[in-house]
């Protein structure tokens, strides 16, 4: 039973994820699945600092943008395949995270949140005024793939499996962190920073590590995005609404839980795509009105997210069952 619970469900879910684009195989469905995975990567990366370390970044798009611009700037200026720019994007992300994190992670978490949003806007403005990075027009990837290394495909299918692999890697890394000393320390620091420090947990150092890891993984998501779409501009790569989406997906599914961000992405990405299809451009404003309302309701009634709610309901049902049996 224990063994079954431990391996059967993950195996079933993995199978579902692998088979999804083969069963739901219209281009729209495949694209939808691909976008879910992409946002799940970004939201899972956010979760490392926002959920596990409890430091709420509201400007995570800056790392997404680093990854995206890293990829396409490498193609534009060096003629290399976009994927070759990924390390560049990761390095830029880590540098920016250090600039934001070093002074703020020692202070109350509000400073951190304010700094994340301000720095994201700062970078967006700088990029929008930098010719080298395409300024307001943006950068494009290869229009015709020169080799398979350009990772430029017409179908979403290859991207789906690529993103699935990256997501699996991200979640595996998160899982390892969760069960390592760092995971234990982060939970303790979130609970009582003072007590954790008295026991030897260097709070700001561990928060910083979580932030750097999160930034690096978000940059990977950004590179993936740019490689798939083949175009990036200050709005699509550094706009505040991407920060919002990343944040709300993690919060809806459940911050500080392994699968919460994936659940959040699986709910919100289809909703947004459908609402865009139904309402056209006019729906864009409405989508974010709804997002705002959802975030407020979550904060007010269920800050732990849907997975926590599910767990609580299940525990209550089990409790009722046990009482009935007794």
């Amino acid at each position: 039973m224990g063994l079954l619970r431990r391996f059967l469900w993950p195996a079933i879910w993995l199978l579902v994820l692998l088979a999804f684009p083969l069963v739901w195989d219209t281009p729209f469905q495949q694209r939808l699945g691909t976008l879910v995975l992409l946002y799940a990567i970004a939201a899972s990366a956010w979760n490392i600092v926002g959920g596990y370390a409890g430091q709420v970044s509201v400007g995570h798009v800056v790392f997404f943008g680093c990854g995206a611009y890293g990829a396409l700037a490498t193609y534009t200026h060096l003629g290399l395949p976009p994927i070759a720019g990924l390390p560049l994007g990761v390095a830029a992300s880590v540098a920016i995270a250090a600039v934001v994190g070093v002074p703020t992670l020692r202070l109350s978490g509000h400073y951190f949140s304010m700094a994340t949003i301000a720095v994201a806007e700062l970078v967006r403005l700088v990029v929008a005024n930098t010719e080298f990075l395409g300024a307001a027009v943006g950068l494009s990837g290869p229009t015709v793939p020169r080799s398979v290394l350009d990772l430029s495909f017409t179908s979403s299918l290859p991207y789906y499996y690529l993103f699935l692999a990256v997501l699996a890697g991200t979640l595996a890394l998160t899982w390892r962190m969760e069960n390592s000393r760092m995971g234990y320390y982060l939970r303790a620091i979130k609970d009582s920073e003072r007590a954790a420090r008295s026991l030897g947990a260097a709070a700001s150092r561990y928060k910083m590590r979580a932030y750097l890891l999160s930034a690096a993984l978000t940059a990977v998501a950004g590179s993936m995005y740019a490689i798939m779409i083949g175009f990036i501009d200050p709005e699509s790569g550094l706009g505040i609404l991407i920060s919002v989406k990343i944040l709300i997906m993690a919060a809806l599914g459940g911050t500080g839980t392994l699968f919460g961000p994936l659940v959040g992405a699986a709910i919100l990405v289809p909703l947004e795509e459908i609402s865009n299809n139904v309402f056209g451009g006019g729906g864009a404003g409405l989508t974010f009105v709804v997002y705002g309302a959802v975030i407020m309701l979550l904060a007010r009634f269920q800050p732990g997210g849907l997975l926590e709610l599910l767990g609580r309901l299940r525990a209550r049902a089990a409790g009722r069952g046990a009482r009935r049996a007794a």
């Binding site: 304010m114 301000a118 911050t255 974010f288 009105v289 997002y291 705002g292 904060a299």
Partner: protein, 287 residues
């Protein structure tokens, strides 16, 4: 040359007075209950639209729109407090940040949805004319806005430091439980703080709308300006916000003049990062 420079500095001071006014609201709430209101910039934005509606429907200028916007926003602030903020104050910080951030999105895109993304503006002649003071030419709209903002900020400071209401709010900020024992109701005082803070944002927004374009996303920039002001001035300090606001107004004007208008926000935001690195407790805060 010097006259132009003086004019730029004077314009910066007038703008800075407005920054000081709406940043005072943010600093008041932070100082009183350790909550950062991420919707504060959108309160200002809402006030700008209120001012626009007042002009559109009643044909009236700031004499009417300033008090109306103050009332509308104070109501929004108090409702936000009772319906939302009060319930998340003791929750983990993520709930606090999500709550006000969600409110910001809700207001921003509610307005976007209703009014559209187009930039609106009030007619130039609503507060017409230009004054010439010692060779410095200042548009009347900016002069009026700056002067009123200074007065209201000073009034807010006096209210907090010289009145019974102010001492009660301070008592709640210092020690909620002790204040309660003294017969003060913390929730009521905190609601008053939200009303005052949002009301200040309302006045600022109505004043800004007389000379600045109106758009749903203008609050985002203003919120960051308020963060810079408050962090520079020290959290919880209205005089700090005043000095910092004036300083930032001047820095913005000068950088727009010297480097170019598109770079003024870049300069302001960089200033924020610099403050965090060099003096996170603010210019006037204790170490």
């Amino acid at each position: 040359m010097t006259a132009t420079l003086l004019q730029v500095i004077a314009g910066g001071l007038l703008l800075g007075a407005l920054y000081a006014l709406f940043a005072s609201g943010l600093t008041l709430i932070w100082g009183m209950m350790n909550v950062v209101n991420f919707a504060h910039g959108d309160f200002v934005m809402l006030a700008m639209y209120t001012s626009f509606v007042v002009w559109k429907t009643l044909g009236l200028g700031p004499a009417a729109s300033v008090p109306i916007a103050a009332l509308v926003l104070a109501t929004v602030g108090i409702v936000a407090y009772f319906a939302l903020v009060r319930h998340v104050m003791r929750a983990p910080m993520i709930a606090q940040i999500l709550a006000t951030f969600g409110l910001a999105l809700f207001l921003r895109y509610g307005v976007f949805w209703y009014f559209g993304a187009n930039f609106l503006s009030l007619p130039d002649n609503l507060v017409g004319g230009t004054y010439d003071i010692w060779g410095i030419r200042l548009p009347a709209a900016r002069l009026l806005a700056g002067a009123v903002a200074l007065l209201v900020t000073a009034g807010l400071h006096l209210l907090l430091t010289r009145t019974m209401l102010g001492s009660r709010m301070l008592a709640v900020a210092e020690d909620e439980a002790a204040a309660q024992l003294m017969g003060i109701r913390p929730h009521r005082m905190q609601a008053v703080a939200w009303g005052l803070a949002a009301g200040a944002a309302g006045i600022a927004g109505a004043l800004i709308s007389t000379f600045f374009y109106i758009s749903p996303t203008v609050g985002e920039t203003l919120a960051i300006v308020a963060f810079v002001t408050v962090s520079l001035g020290g959290f919880g300090s209205v005089p700090g916000a005043l000095v910092a606001g004036l300083l930032i107004g001047v820095i913005e004007s000068l950088s727009a003049y010297w480097i170019g208008a598109v770079y003024k926000d870049i300069v302001t935001y960089s200033l924020f990062v610099a403050v965090l690195w060099l003096r996170p407790q603010g210019l006037m805060g204790k170490a």
